[in-house]
């Protein structure tokens, strides 16, 4: 059984008098440990798909099973609990809490789990180390560069040991050099820590770091190629 299973998922929006259906009865499987990138033109529903898998949005129809739980059936409160334990979210614009230090930002998701303070500290330190920011723990977001902020965001997404991590254009707001560092980091997290990753991007080069690449176009998936065959 796949870690993430989408069956017959549809989602429509009203835009003025028009109804837009970016996702139309789609199916998708993501295996545990897989690194899947999702590409496609703007407005094709990539981020919508990410939001549905994350349980921060709901489909019009279909089922979304993540690690054996149908997230479409959970209440808003239960979904929050489920996300705290099972999902890490990497935002395009980092979205760190400005009043908290890098350490405190990474610590946030662990406060929602039943962990002792020493377990919490250990996890945060490991996550900070994994993204190479142990020396920036006491810095506030405004004292970090864009790349460092994104690495804190990644540490925050993996600190709770989620079953799946979703990344919405994680390099979208970074310069080329920083973008490359983040790509390497994501690849390392997937390979070394076996983290299942679902990444949305419109950059072909960024998409190429994933082990599997899909293109979403007019509500349907097109499989591009296995890793290493696109370059």
């Amino acid at each position: 059984m796949a870690l993430v299973e989408l069956r017959g998922v549809s989602k429509s929006f009203r835009k003025g008098d028009e109804t837009i259906t970016p996702l139309d009865n789609i199916d998708l499987n993501i295996e545990a440990g897989e690194f899947l990138s999702l590409m496609g033109p703007s407005g094709t529903g990539k981020s919508t798909l990410l939001n549905l898998v994350s349980g921060i949005d709901r489909p019009d129809s279909g089922t979304i099973m993540v690690a054996g739980t149908d997230v479409t059936q959970l209440s808003r409160s239960k979904l929050a609990d489920w996300r705290a334990a099972n999902l890490g979210y990497i935002f395009q614009t980092h979205n760190l809490i400005p009043v908290l230090t890098a350490y405190e930002n990474v610590e946030l998701p662990t406060l929602l789990l039943k962990l002792s303070s020493s377990q919490r500290r250990q996890r945060v330190e490991l996550a900070m180390e994994a993204v190479g920011l142990s020396d920036r723990a006491e810095h506030y977001p405004r004292q970090l560069s864009g790349g460092q902020e994104q690495r804190v965001g990644i540490a925050r997404a993996i600190v709770a040991h989620p079953k799946v991590v979703v990344a919405d254009e994680p390099t979208g707001s970074l310069d080329a050099e920083t973008s490359e560092q983040v790509q390497v980091l994501l690849q390392r997290l997937n390979k070394e820590l076996n983290i299942t990753l679902l990444m949305v991007t419109h950059d072909r080069d960024v998409a190429a770091i994933a082990s599997r690449q899909l293109v979403l176009d007019r509500g349907k998936f097109l499989e591009l190629a296995e890793a290493g065959q696109t370059s």
Binding site: I56, D57, A80, A84, F91, I97
Partner: protein, 377 residues
């Protein structure tokens, strides 16, 4: 998460400071108004107000116009239910409402010591009982007028030596100056030899106050001056009737203060939440439950109110404790005193207002449409 709330408030410290200051000022006024209400309540209820009677000349209001024979005390003391009678000559510098009223009560010094719940803070009873122009001064008057033992104090035609400063379990007493009855009766301008302003009647434990009051008036009807006898609380409420109406109206001022804090903290919290609506969406994406997001906002608004309220309440209690404020009219005074109940009601009101003020923004934060909020710049 507590750290998050505190850091958020600290981040916008100017806004926080202004809100806390506003809440403090409003709660200061709220407590002041509350102390006036409490003072009135104390004056018109309690053992002293319920278990003693004041015999006054019929159809007279200001102490200068009531002139009863001192001898009435003997007739009253013979009535069943009467434990003791204390003839009192009252002199006041102002029959109208005043914040600095000075009221002299002249009575037998030994009787004052035995029947009044007074405790000397400085000076001696011996000097008070033996020296003709000696006076013991309530600590509020002493505080207001800067009097200490040994001082000579003059007002109008009266000049006394301060023989002691006292405190009392009946707060309004602390706005009085006690002298001997003879001294006040023979004061120039009073011409009151053999006359007193009123008789204070102490009742035995089984006596019915209203029945004894009727009996007193009935008995003295045959005398040279008709009397009107009432419970001390009712007498004081009637004496201060104009002020009672005003104080009754003042409680609306207290409610207005609460409303002011409510709107101030609600506005601050709404602004704060609207500024950070994306932050709440991020928190919920990470896994913060909607109820927890709601609690975070409520904690913020309650903390603002509590700090402001606590500060305002503490300052009000301090001012009330140090200021010795009182308002009086026609010889009766209402003392404004700090009290535990006042502190408790200030803090409780602050918490309640904090929770109510935070409700609407808290619901907004808890029910934020996550996807839409995350799209905001």
């Amino acid at each position: 998460m507590t750290r998050y709330v505190l850091k958020t408030l600290w981040r916008h410290r100017t806004r926080t400071l202004l809100t806390v200051t506003g809440a403090a000022v409003a709660m200061f006024v709220f407590c002041f108004v509350g102390s006036v209400q409490e003072g009135l309540q104390r004056l018109t209820s309690g053992a002293d107000a319920e278990r003693s009677l004041i015999v006054f000349q019929e159809n007279r209001f200001c102490p200068t116009t009531s002139r009863l024979p001192e001898d009435y005390a003997r007739k009253i003391s013979e009535l069943p239910g009467v434990r003791d009678v204390m003839p009192i000559q009252v002199w006041t510098n102002n029959c109208r409402a005043s914040l600095d009223i000075v009221v002299f009560n002249g009575a037998d010094p030994d009787q004052i010591q035995q029947t009044r719940p007074l405790k000397l803070l400085a000076g001696s009873w011996q000097q008070f009982t033996s020296q003709r122009d000696a006076a013991i001064v309530g600590r509020n008057v002493a505080q207001r007028r800067g009097l200490k033992v040994g001082d000579q104090f003059s007002i109008g035609d009266i000049s006394v030596n301060v023989a002691g400063i006292f405190q009392s379990t009946v707060p309004s007493e602390e706005n009085l100056i006690y002298t001997s009855l003879k001294f006040l009766q023979y004061t120039r301008g009073l011409d009151a030899a053999g006359l007193v302003t009123q008789h204070e009647v102490l009742l035995s434990s089984d006596a019915d106050p209203d029945r004894v009051a009727s009996q007193i008036d009935e008995t003295l009807r045959a005398g040279s001056v008709a009397t009107k006898t009432r419970r001390k609380g009712a007498f004081q409420a009637s004496t201060l009737s104009d002020l009672v109406d005003l104080i009754g109206f003042a409680h609306w001022l207290g409610y207005a203060c609460v409303g002011l804090v409510l709107s101030l903290v609600a506005t601050t919290t709404v602004m704060s939440v609207q500024d950070r609506i994306k932050e709440y969406a991020v928190l919920q994406t990470i896994g913060v439950r909607p109820l927890r997001a709601l609690r975070l906002v409520l904690a913020e608004s309650t903390l603002l109110c509590l700090v402001g309220g606590w500060l305002g309440t503490a300052l009000a209690l301090l001012a009330l404790g140090l200021g010795g404020f009182a308002i009086g009219a026609e010889g009766a005074t209402i003392a404004f005193r700090p009290s535990f109940d006042l502190a408790l009601s200030g803090i409780f009101t602050s918490i309640l207002v904090g929770v109510v003020a935070g409700l609407a923004p808290a619901i907004q934060a808890a029910t934020v449409p996550i996807v839409n909020a995350l799209r905001e710049a």
